[in-house]
Symmetry: C2
Subunit: 104 residues, 2 copies
DNA sequence: TCTATAGTTCGATTATATTCGAACTATAGA
DNA sequence: TCTATAGTTCGAATATAATCGAACTATAGA
């Protein structure tokens, strides 16, 4: 079962993270993943856009080190790399997540 | 003495802030302003790029609500809008500033 | 009023992103 | 082995951004 390559956390640049989080679609994906608090498939995170568009956004989130994708069968399970990012850039992702959910 | 228009803090979107901070040049401007802890002219913040390029980046930082520019004589004094942003998006800008300066 | 200084605006060029259909890959299950 | 499902890759069209020279605006000071 072939897996997708991800950058190691020390390869991740702050600008990559900022860039990945500057798009509303990607911000929504990240917000949903955080709220769900569990791995989700791309299908579940579908924002009624074509698969190829969603795939593009997942690619950027992966490249930025924000999302990790594990292949399980025919599904791709996505999870946030919160702990790692928190370690390298304390507060950055967490404060963004908090800004996305003012109600908590 | 004509002044430059800025967005009010409630007009500022999180995506604007993320986008503005996704560029290395702008991130450096923001980092320098934060380290200086005082208003600085565009000239002082010059990163040996043409004036028109720098002006473009300041425009984006202003539009994102990150930088406030006051005209004093022939100079434009730039300051970070840290308190306001902190109020609206707690931790977002501050964590980025901390990530820029790991030594403190 | 003239000149120098600081920065903006304009316009053109080039680079980078977004979007999405169509073709493709990999796996599960019949 | 066939088919359905999940997602990626490719390629082309369109949109958005970065870059920078040249012309412009506004002020300070001589």
């Amino acid at each position: 079962m072939r897996q997708i390559k991800h950058p190691s956390i020390d390869q991740v640049e702050l600008t990559d993270i900022m860039y990945a989080l500057s798009d509303p679609t990607r911000l929504e994906i990240v917000g949903r993943l955080a709220n769900a608090g569990r791995k989700m498939t791309c299908g579940e995170l579908d924002l009624n856009r074509p698969k190829s568009s969603m795939s593009h956004h997942f690619k950027i989130l992966r490249a930025a080190g924000i999302v990790e994708t594990l292949i399980e069968g025919t599904e791709h399970m996505n999870a946030l790399r919160v702990e790692e990012i928190e370690q390298k850039f304390p507060g950055v992702l967490q404060s963004v997540l908090r800004a996305l959910n003012p109600t908590q």
